[in-house]
Amino acid sequence: MTAERRVVVTGLGATTPVGGNVPDTWDAILAGRSGARTMPYEWVEQYDLPVKFAATLKTPAEEVLSKVEVRRMDPSAQYALIAAREAWADAGSPEGDPERLAACIGTGIGGVWTLLSQWDNLREKGPRRVFPLAVPMLMPNASSAAVSLEIGARAGAHTPVSACASGLEAMGYAYDMIRNGRADIAVAGGTEGAVHALPIAGFAAMQALSTRNDDPERASRPYDTGRDGFVLGEGAAVVVLEEYEAAKARGAKIYAEVGGVGMSADSHHIAAPEPEGAGASRAMVEAVQRAGLTPKDIVHVNAHATSTPVGDVAESNAIRRAFGDDADGMPVSATKSMTGHLLGAAGALEGVLTILALHHRLAPATINLDDFDPAIKLDVVHGEARKLPAGDIAALNNSFGFGGHNVAVVFTSV
């Protein structure tokens, strides 16, 4: 039995509502800028949607990709490709055996723009006008396939689908692939391009979305008593994960190590979180244990914190249940207050922000926290970013999805 393989992060990429790449996104997060804005689409008025804003991409994909790439890929795959290219370049485009290279890109909904626009084509113009690439564009694995094609990944291309936990689950899957020897390098993350009338109408029908139409930038307000639902976001975030010894040998820049991953399922309700947080806390405890750490080692949590009245309290309960009084020493950031909720990309984006928090030793401030909800029993960072301690530190990222999916990942400084 050889020594356990360690997994480190050597590249970061993202296109988000607050920045077209990782440096711009991180600057915006530290500056406390919101990516929520009134939607410019004609269908907002056409269907008289109850929610008229979303956290749309800061830099539209058309400004980054070629015309042909835009035509042949659903927005979800376009965003994944943009983020993957940045991450891959950031890692120095490592050369290696393609059969030891993997792509794992999760998504919550997949190619919903393509599905619905081609349905419109069918109904209005007939079957012959359905785009021949309709099916390979709308399938949820289109993004992991596109990334696999882009970097030549042949160890496997995988697409974890677990609603809003998909992006972090994809990182966990990639971590397992490297740990158990199926791959040496993996490009992993999540993507979502679902700012479309149907998902908005559906989320609105379940009263999951904020309706603060007159003030979009203040609509996403995790832990505030005035929170009234999440703000739908779009984008993608991707990391390059590598086996530690190989990364060190090639002199790669190492941002952090993936210490441990914990996953669980609530088996409670199709959409509502289990209020006591039993499943979520199990995922967190498992992630910390697998990292070989204790709760006292965790100096920062990037919470799932979507800004829904029920969900934020359930996660607070789960963190308390997992860590007891040790949670007092874990400054919590709710970055969805700025980025909105990127669904299947959310966990991946927050993974990137957790990694950057460790790397820069700064926990970002949560914005729009004016009236702290006393039901939340957490030390929430707000006002300004908080410095994290020197030395070996670890941070936890939580991600939960409709269906009762819980994923928690511990990252450590290297």
Binding site: S66, K67, V68, R71, R128, R129, F131, P132, L133
Partner: protein
């Protein structure tokens, strides 16, 4: 609304450019869609459907396999228009 073969060639070149990103100048009558322009069957179907709309003609699926070169497509569209 019959168009000259030159007009059809230019219109077709725009469709090919839109679909594949190939320069319009590279879309010449003697070029093979597959061997010279590297257009796969899915892209070819998209080009065909877009050409039907642009030129107001019908190109049956059975006919598509006979359209080996850009010139074949131009002549077929031209004949269909007249």
């Amino acid at each position: 609304m019959a168009q000259s073969e030159q007009e059809i060639l230019e219109g077709l070149a725009e469709i090919v450019n839109e679909e594949t990103g190939l320069d319009t100048d590279s879309v010449q009558s003697d070029k093979s869609f597959t061997d010279d322009l590297d257009i796969d069957s899915l892209s070819m179907m998209t080009i065909v459907v877009n050409a039907e709309e642009k030129f107001g003609v019908r190109i049956p699926d059975d006919e598509v396999k006979n359209l080996k070169t850009v010139g074949d497509a131009v002549s077929f569209i031209s004949k269909s228009q007249s």
